[in-house]
């Protein structure tokens, strides 16, 4: 499966239909909530709900597995490091110098789960929104069109540059460059012939790209840009926005007022 460029999954689902700005709002609010809450059961529930969200948006299983495969190593690493370096409370077991406590286990798990839940929030947005819509929504949120274009171009040319790197690396290996040679700085030196050729090629490509943009009347003065595909807020989008807002407010109120979800293990 080629992920990296076309993260977007073309499906017909309610999540695909929502205005991208609502999804962006959901991502922002969810990240705040996930940073505020520190309870393992809250995180587990969130994780289950997010899987339901992906499932209801008809995101295929391999895309969900992709998120797990990509981020689980980081999540586990963070969890283990926390457990090893920040013991709190009575040790459950002690192996040599390392104390493992129930509290630090739960705290570590929360940190790990936070990575996963945040990832699923962001990927729900990316999987269900095509790039023109993402750019369009950012521009509607008052980001300058040029920035949006640069973002879109960056995403568009990731696979091109990946391919370029692969070819250049092969071309230099064919000239007997041993790319696995050296460590640290030595390795950087080994890879220089690839990096330099890459930079030269990229400069050439960006020069051509700039010309192509100009040939398509990019930067025309005194013209208000039109859009073939536009996005518009429908009544349902207002409903979702309100629901997200209300839920977030409720959760944050419970958290600040009653300490809901502040402890690693107990809910209050």
């Amino acid at each position: 499966m080629q992920v990296g460029i076309d993260l977007f999954v073309l499906r017909k689902s309610w999540l695909h239909e929502i205005d991208p700005r609502v999804k962006l709002f959901f991502v922002a609010v969810s990240i705040i909530i996930l940073l505020v809450f520190k309870n393992i059961f809250f995180m587990l529930t969130a994780l289950v709900l997010l899987h339901l969200l992906h499932w209801s948006a008809k995101i295929p299983r391999d895309r969900i597995l992709f998120v797990w495969k990509t981020l689980m190593p980081v999540a586990i690493l963070i969890c283990v490091l926390w457990v090893v370096f920040y013991p709190a409370g009575d040790p459950l077991i002690q192996i040599w110098m390392v104390k493992i406590t129930l509290v630090s286990l739960a705290q570590g798990a929360v940190l790990g789960l936070r990575i996963m839940t945040m990832a699923f929030v962001v990927f729900a947005w990316l999987y269900s929104t095509d790039q023109p819509s993402i750019v369009r929504s950012l521009v509607k949120l008052k980001m300058p069109f040029e920035w949006g274009l640069i973002l879109a171009l960056a995403l568009r040319y990731i696979p091109t540059f990946q391919g370029m790197y692969a070819v250049i690396s092969e071309a230099q290996q064919a000239r007997a460059l041993n790319i696995s040679e050296g460590k640290g700085f030595g390795r950087v030196r080994t890879l220089m012939p690839i990096f330099v050729a890459m930079v030269i090629s990229a400069l050439r490509a960006s020069d051509q790209l700039a010309r192509a943009l100009e040939a398509r009347a990019f930067g025309a003065h005194g013209v208000e840009r039109t859009y073939l595909r536009d996005i518009s807020f429908r009544p349902l989008d207002w409903v979702f926005t309100f629901a997200i807002f209300a839920t977030a407010l409720l959760l944050l109120y419970l958290n600040f007022r009653y300490g809901f979800g502040r402890q690693p293990i107990s809910l209050f």
Partner: protein
């Protein structure tokens, strides 16, 4: 024939594939059971549409790709365990786009990069570099920045930079793409000179005019299979099969076929050949006509 491309091939087999299969990841196979031999000293044209597997096959010859199934043998030995860097001593591979390898501050350094990687003594590196620059007429650009030279020169630098490793076998992926007539033929002459010195040359191209004029042997791939592999003249006999593969025959070859019924040699490959044959025909007619009266 006087204008038959000279072939310095020997009976030694330098490259061989046995039932070679290859697939990129989970994709359908790009090569489907290719078995072939290339003799040392051959000059082989490798043709086929994009996606037919030309480049994929060629990358197996220097180990950049490894067979999913089957074997590649270099001088009779399986190259399975030999790294690309070591194979580069024997098999040189010039990539399609010169900009994908040029990185040095001077042309001289660029060309010395390969030999240096081979661990040769500095004197030998210098000797080979100067000789490669001479062969490709680059000496006057030795101290120029190769990245800002014109396209035709960058192309020659990229070939010289592989040739300087003195590989017995030289593979070139579409080296004439984007070059004008003069640069194209200049380059082909230089490759022919290397061929005469005994190098084995494998030329990937779409230009059948070059195959007709320069390469005595020709290999045609279609959908990952070896469709034709023979002396160029014999391959060109299968013009229907070639057209089916969307390979465009040179105008001269098409013309020879159309004129064959009236007595022109059907297998003419180049302009002089067709011209000779047509001239002969007219001369003969004149003799017959004169005799008749």
């Amino acid at each position: 024939m006087a204008d038959e491309p000279m072939s310095s091939q020997t009976d030694t087999i330098c490259l061989e594939t046995r039932d070679l299969w290859f697939a990129y990841g989970d994709n359908p196979p790009a090569l489907r059971g290719i078995s072939l031999t290339i003799r040392a000293g051959d000059f082989v044209g490798l043709v086929g549409q994009n996606g037919s597997g030309k480049t994929t096959l060629a990358k197996h010859f220097n180990g950049l790709l490894r067979p999913t199934q089957g074997q590649v043998l270099l001088y009779g030995q399986d190259i399975r365990d030999r790294p690309v860097g070591e194979l580069a001593r024997t098999v040189g591979y010039v990539f399609q786009n010169p900009d994908h390898q040029i990185f040095s501050a001077t042309t001289r350094e660029e060309i010395a990069f390969g030999p240096r990687n081979l661990g040769l003594e500095e004197a030998e590196v210098q000797r080979r570099t100067e000789q490669a620059m001479e062969h490709f007429d680059l000496t006057e650009y030795a101290d120029h920045q190769p990245a800002v030279l014109g396209f035709g020169l960058r192309r020659k630098v990229s070939i010289a930079a592989v040739y300087s490793m003195r590989p017995q076998i030289l593979i070139l992926d579409e080296p004439t793409a984007g070059l004008d007539w003069h640069c194209t033929h200049d380059l082909m002459e230089r490759l022919t000179a290397l061929h005469r010195q005994g190098h084995t040359i494998i030329l990937i191209t779409h230009d059948m005019r070059l195959i007709a004029q320069y390469t005595p042997r020709c290999m045609v791939l279609r959908e990952g299979k070896l469709l034709l592999y023979d002396d160029t003249r014999k391959v060109f006999e299968h013009c229907d099969l070639l057209r089916e593969t969307h390979i465009e025959l040179p105008q001269v070859c098409e013309l020879a076929r159309e004129l064959a019924p009236i007595g022109v040699r059907r297998d003419a490959l180049t302009v002089p050949e067709l011209c000779d044959s047509y001239a002969d025909l007219i001369a003969r007619r004149e003799v017959t006509n004169a005799g008749g009266h």
